[in-house]
């Protein structure tokens, strides 16, 4: 068979979402951010929300998310994305408004904005990339950094007496009456990528139904910050991160 007969639309098994534009991503090879971007673009496209989606990008490695996913974007100050999303959604309730935040952005400097947006039951989705480190600024300790984990600001490993405990914020948010859906996923293999996509879809649908705040935590790798190869980073995540941040739904309220 000739090659051009094989490479034809009927045989296509995969297509890059149109909303994921051709700009070169600045993410390190192996980074989870790129995979999650693709899923967000896919879900918006599959829901037909291209004209209604508004993203709020964080300060962190995903600050330039607006260069990659071809919808309207607001770029927030560090930690303030949920406050911005609150206003955008309240002013335009027919829009699909979501934030995309790292663990420093969401669980350190933006803890107040996160908790209060969730507690007010804002009809937004929060996509939370938990890579246990400050990727963008060069690998400093995050609130989510594991005990013993080495970073630029805990070079001998995180210690309780010096740095306190790693913060699992999803269970905290799940306790709040304002959240309808809090889930923890990962994107280190195909099965989990699919689950994460389904979770984002559910969260976005919740936002449009107006039943409260949805939080999709993606336990992620930062192979550069962790100083591991992409493959080793995945292994390290499975071995170490999942114990503190186990995958699965923490809350799933349907109405």
């Amino acid at each position: 068979m000739e090659l051009n007969k094989i490479i034809c639309p009927e045989n296509r098994v995969y297509k890059k979402p149109e909303l994921l534009n051709d700009t070169h991503m600045h993410y390190c090879p192996g980074c989870s951010h790129g995979v999650v971007h693709k899923l967000v673009a896919q879900v918006i496209e599959e829901m037909g929300m291209q004209e209604k989606a508004i993203g709020v990008s964080p300060v962190g490695c995903a600050v330039f998310a607006y260069n990659y996913i071809d919808v309207d974007w607001l770029q927030a100050a560090h930690g303030r994305a949920p406050a911005m999303a609150t206003a955008a959604k309240r002013l335009m309730p027919d829009k699909l408004v979501f934030t995309y935040q790292g663990d420093g952005d969401l669980a350190a400097i933006g803890t107040a904005e996160t908790i209060h947006a969730c507690n007010r039951a804002e009809n937004i989705t929060i996509i939370f990339i938990n890579n246990a480190i400050y990727g963008m600024t060069g690998g400093q300790m995050a609130p989510t950094t594991l005990l013993g984990q080495k970073t630029a600001t805990c070079p001998y490993g995180r210690r309780v007496d010096l740095n306190g405990y790693p913060l699992a914020i999803a269970p905290l948010l799940a306790q709040l009456d304002g959240t309808c859906y809090v889930t923890r996923q990962s994107v280190h293999n195909v099965a989990n990528v699919r689950k994460t996509k389904a979770a984002i879809r559910k969260a976005f649908e919740n936002s449009m139904k107006g039943i409260g705040t949805s939080v999709v935590e993606v336990v992620s790798t930062c192979n550069t910050g962790w100083k591991l190869s992409p493959e080793k980073a995945n292994e390290w995540m499975v071995e170490n991160m999942f114990a503190k941040y186990p995958l699965g739904d923490l809350k799933n309220r349907e109405e």
């Binding site: 291209q50 990008s57 919808v71 309207d72 974007w73 303030r80 206003a87 955008a88 309240r90 904005e113």
Partner: protein, 354 residues
């Protein structure tokens, strides 16, 4: 009506889309009035008590970035927390209205009136090279009128407008004429008026992004030149100052806000004593009315700046006249407000009796 209440009503009447704020004396009546009037049931205006001034200013930032007509109000400590957001809004060139009803500082300070946030408001309290238009009301009527003026200017220049009131103006009661109710802008109107706004990609128009980030040095330099060009344009067109008895005056008082009202009385008392005293009341603090002050000061022997601060505006007055005349300061601090005879005494002490 109270200044703060009148301002809240004026915001609804202008057709505001949203107010985001956090309670702090002496301006909590703004949020209280809005909550009592429930504009969401009439005009559809959103009113939200945020978890902090930090959240509130970022809600304002988002609303403004969506092309909506949004405002917040606060007092000095809260205004400090809003500086990061102001800097972002200036950098993103979005139109918003902010109100600071000043109280005495530094720190938690006092809940009583002050004008000590002049530097912070006029010289850019947040980081980076930026300005907001700063309007200084001295009556309850101006608390009303400057809401419309502030938003009109903000949308005209895509910048932040501020109403910088002292606690007296926020709390005092006067008769006011309120404007007619205007309808809120529809989404279609916003798309037309603010084609840059984040409103979703209707009809798959190219995406809109509101960001203050630019890592290309040359583009960021060009952005800064563009901001500055806007500021020069504002300086050229929007400077406002009220001049009273300045044609023949030998001495000039410069004051804004409630001290200008009190200084007016002091001026009248001085004139009764036979001294030719005039008053210049800057209405825009940024842009500062340089030309008007210079003109009014042309033939005077001395200038007295009256401020509820240790002397902040006085620097702009000295710059305006290029230190060509003696300029003296008189002010009360800590929430104290001077009586007219205190200002008259200061005039005597510093100029008339010398």
């Amino acid at each position: 009506m109270k200044g703060n209440e009148a301002l809240a009503v004026a915001a609804i009447r202008y057709g505001a889309d949203a107010y985001f704020g956090y309670p702090i004396t002496p301006q909590s009546e703004v949020l209280e009035t809005l909550e009592a009037l429930k504009p969401w049931e009439t005009t559809g205006m959103v009113v939200l008590q945020a978890e902090s001034e930090v959240a509130a200013v970022n809600m304002v930032y988002a609303g403004a970035a969506c092309g909506k007509t949004v405002l917040t109000s606060t007092s000095s400590p809260g205004f400090s927390l809003m500086q990061e957001g102001m800097s972002y809004m200036a950098a993103s060139e979005v139109p918003a209205l902010m109100i600071n009803v000043m109280r005495g500082g530094p720190g938690l300070g006092t809940i009583h009136p002050s004008q000590a946030d002049y530097f912070q408001a006029c010289k850019g309290g947040g980081h980076g090279d930026y300005h907001a238009i700063v309007l200084a009301p001295s009556s309850v009527q101006e608390m009303v009128d400057f809401v419309a003026l502030g938003w009109d200017l903000a949308f005209k220049y895509r910048c932040v407008s501020m109403i910088l009131a002292d606690g007296v103006v926020g709390q005092m009661m006067e008769k006011v004429v309120l404007p007619e109710q205007r309808p809120r802008r529809t989404e279609e109107e916003i798309r037309k008026l603010c084609p840059w706004a984040v409103t979703g990609r209707k009809d798959m128009r190219p995406r809109n992004v509101i960001t203050s980030l630019e890592l290309d040095d040359d583009i960021m330099e060009a952005n800064n030149h563009r901001f500055q060009a806007t500021y020069r344009e504002i300086e050229k067109n929007e400077t406002r100052c009220e001049l009273i008895n300045t044609e023949d005056c030998d001495y000039l008082i410069v004051a804004f806000g409630s001290p200008a009202r009190i200084s007016m009385k002091a001026m009248e008392m001085a004139r009764e004593q036979g001294y030719k005293v005039g008053l210049a009341r800057p209405i825009t603090l940024w842009p500062f009315p340089v030309n008007q002050i210079r003109e009014a000061a042309k033939n005077v022997k001395g200038i007295l700046c009256v401020e509820l601060a240790t002397g902040q505006m006085i620097e702009d007055v000295k710059l305006a006249i290029e230190c060509s005349k003696p300029v003296e300061h008189f002010g009360r601090l800590g929430g104290n407000v001077p009586a007219p005879d205190e200002i008259l005494n200061a005039l005597h002490e510093k100029f008339l009796d010398k």
